[in-house]
Assembly symmetry: C2
Homo-oligomer: 479 residues x 2
């Protein structure tokens, strides 16, 4: 059971192409800087330019007007870790190991107790860029494994400020530790402690501002040194528990989630202005997107997927289609909209042109659904948003995403439209399945001993915790 799509991948490919095709020139200064801004659980419909009705994103809307807007951009996976692994490796999660073969598990990621992480055999984008003289920094969430060998500085990045896992918590540091914040290869504190507090009642936290300042400092330093850089800006304020700084709290029309969107929009605006101010905007390629669709089950702590069906953790459009903007003054023409007809494929669902075929459907399990967790609230579509994993491999459900972006009206199986669409899709699926070499699954085994008890540097700040003896088990995912 796995699922993957092509466009997060296409971005990785594209950025390495930019650098490699331009690398023929010298000196290094001619190499463009690269900034990837990856939002966390932000949905397609959260941008004003994609229809958010209360218009929280004037800076992103302006970025789209100055650059290229992608209304058809897909993530490689509707969940955080596999999506991020695909973005940085340019390879499908089933290839780079970010999947699980445990029974009934589809949406696996890297919680604290996960044993696996990014394989040393994978070549991440910053490693490729380093060969061309780039300095790379991650600001924000990693999520490709938190054991030492999996961390950013062991996988191509030169610098890092951020956390290895999601900012879940607070924990009591006994049953499980709070998530650490790293500065480069050592921890400097933990979420919910000291300066990394997120107020559980109000949602107040200064972390987005901290990430913004760190990004600006890095850009300034590289710019002054005339060194090409790659900044992977991955703030997590829109992932539940959502947070925003005091200045933004209460400013939106939809609670802390909207406030967080406004603060991130503000941050994007500041970064783009900073590039202009430093005179490097014409030499910096900036790409904005999100790791997966809005988490509809998070209700008021979740965002909007606009007109699309369901959200995060589903392979419906709401889970896979992402807001995306490319910005590069002088290189990308203002106000362009790219409607790509690029092939994207997966085994849960395949999109070819405007047709999308679902080979398996599932929103979430009956057990989970009956406990109140709904991936498609107010959107139950008969036979589509199913609560058992339903096999349609012999006769996939097919939708026309142009006429029906909400995936509500399956094309009649006996129609010639269905027959023709399937005839185009089938050989591509067969070819994909024939040539696919799965990687070793990284998300099968869990162990309390591997949690963030004593990350490097914890001794210097008196934050080391004692964890339990190793006792690995086969991870059980929510489904």
């Amino acid at each position: 059971m796995f699922n993957t799509k092509m466009s997060g991948l296409a971005l990785a490919l594209f950025t390495s192409l930019i650098c490699c095709s331009l690398a023929l020139k010298s000196p290094n200064e001619s190499l463009p800087n690269i900034i990837i801004m990856l939002m966390d659980d932000m949905g397609w419909g959260d941008l004003g330019v994609f229809g958010q009705p209360s218009k929280e994103t004037p800076n992103l809307d302006a970025m789209a007007a100055q650059g290229m807007l992608f209304p058809n951009f897909y993530t490689a996976n509707p969940l955080c870790s596999p999506s991020r692994a695909a973005l940085l490796t340019g390879r499908l999660p089933v290839r780079n190991g970010f999947y699980t073969t445990n029974a009934h598990a589809r949406n696996a990621y890297t919680p604290q107790e996960i044993v696996g992480g990014i394989s040393k055999d994978e070549i991440l984008l910053p490693k490729l860029l380093k060969e061309k003289g780039y300095t790379s920094k991650l600001v924000g969430k990693w999520h490709l494994g938190h054991r030492p060998e999996h961390l950013p500085l062991n996988n191509g990045f030169d610098e890092w400020l951020g956390s290895p896992n999601c900012h879940f918590g607070p924990y009591n540091n006994i049953g499980r530790p709070n998530i650490p914040i790293y500065f480069n290869s050592e921890m400097v504190g933990r979420y919910y402690e000291d300066e990394f507090v997120i107020d559980g009642k109000t949602g107040e936290s200064n972390i987005t501002m901290m990430y913004l300042n760190e990004s600006m400092e890095f850009i300034l330093r590289q710019s002054k040194a005339h060194r090409p850089f790659f900044l992977y800006y991955a703030p997590d304020a829109t992932h539940a528990p959502v947070y925003a700084s005091k200045k933004f709290l209460g400013k939106s029309q939809r609670g802390v989630y909207g406030d967080a969107v406004m603060e991130l929009d503000y941050s994007v605006g500041v970064i783009l202005s900073w590039l202009k101010q430093l005179g490097i905007d014409q030499n910096t390629f900036v790409f904005f997107t999100s790791d997966n669709g809005a988490a509809l089950y998070a209700a008021k702590e979740g965002g909007s997927n606009g007109p699309f069906l369901c959200g995060k953790e589903t392979t419906f459009e709401g889970g896979m289609r992402e807001p995306a903007i490319a910005w590069w003054p002088g290189q990308i023409e203002e106000g362009t909209v790219s409607i790509s007809s690029h092939l994207r494929n997966e085994l849960m669902a395949v999109r070819l042109g405007l047709y999308k075929a679902h080979y398996w459907t599932w929103s979430n399990s009956w057990q989970e659904f009956n406990s109140g967790i709904n991936f498609c609230p107010g959107q139950e579509v008969i036979n589509v948003t199913t609560h058992e994993q339903r096999d349609h491999t012999l006769q996939p459900l097919i939708f026309h995403l142009g006429k029906d972006p909400g995936e509500k009206y399956p094309i009649r199986v006996l129609s010639s439209e269905y027959r023709d669409a399937l005839k185009s899709i089938s050989p591509i699926v067969e070819q994909h399945q024939k040539t696919l070499v799965p990687g070793a699954p990284q998300l099968n085994m869990c162990d309390l001993a591997v949690m963030n008890w004593a990350p490097p540097g914890c001794d210097k700040i008196g934050k080391c915790l004692k964890g339990p003896q190793s006792a690995p088990w086969k991870c059980e995912w929510p489904h």
Copy 2:
């Protein structure tokens, strides 16, 4: 049973204010021209600027960028005739008579067999404007009654090209006549006949182009004569059966509906260019909106209501919230977004600030629903999109439209948020009910004899038909 909202009304008020406040100046040339562009069944989510994913509306998006976009604009009613009556009278349908007291009838309009129409006691916008020296023209659909006394030229308009009813058909002219097309006060043909054909198979028709040409001719003539004008541009190509001209057929990603949107978007672009070319753009107030939300039950012949719940014929946001743009170079600042907190009220539902209280819920009847007509496809929300008319007057359902524009999560009745919201809303509802004086209902009686058998002018073109004897009955509406 009735329902009404304030903003279509507010527009009528606003336009009469423009003219009256400026009327103190003379000569007449200082009076601004007024164009109201009213689309038919076009939804909030059909504009690129509001999130339509395949970007069919570059001209409307540009109009929004040059003018003022209203993300919170409401129609007075989720159905054509009452919405249009409210727009032109500035009065709630329950006041101007565009409602019915027949049992189980909520969504009543003016089909061919309707006996009623706009009352002679109502003062329509063009009548007010005439006092100030304006010439007024309707291009497109009227829908305020088709008997002679109800027609546009008897209600303030000076000119008209268009039809009195919806372009349903084709009919055999025996059981019921095809809908006539009028030029001023006489018919010049019928839909589905001669030059007014709509091809049932392909959806091809030249009617949108005919309406565009007629509008341009009128603007040119008034401009040359230096006479202030009011153009009510009301094309109907996005109302099922949808149609587009050959040039646009197959151009969109979602069938003839999208093609029709593209042709109307093109038409809007041409009209705005025409104003510039004639040098009168700085003296012309243009307002673009739609009569009600997209008809979701029309499936592929219907549009998109973006993130909102349900559509046409419902008082959920999908039925009531409309795309809206004001454009007036030199008077309206570019790129403004108005988030109005204006009071809008109704007895089905009331919006106050960001809270919306439903006093009655209903999508459509079980009978209709079970026959396959779904007003909220893929959006059944328990207790909200009900199929019986459910009375919540003692304890309304309340939603926060900022946090929850899709009306999926009613606020808990026992919460202080609910209590506070209701405390603000209740006195306004009481006040409204106390002061309301209902008009005589126009939509109660039907009669085959009043259909368009022999409209004025039919003799000149040999199109008179013989209708049956009068035999009025109490209209039975679909619900």
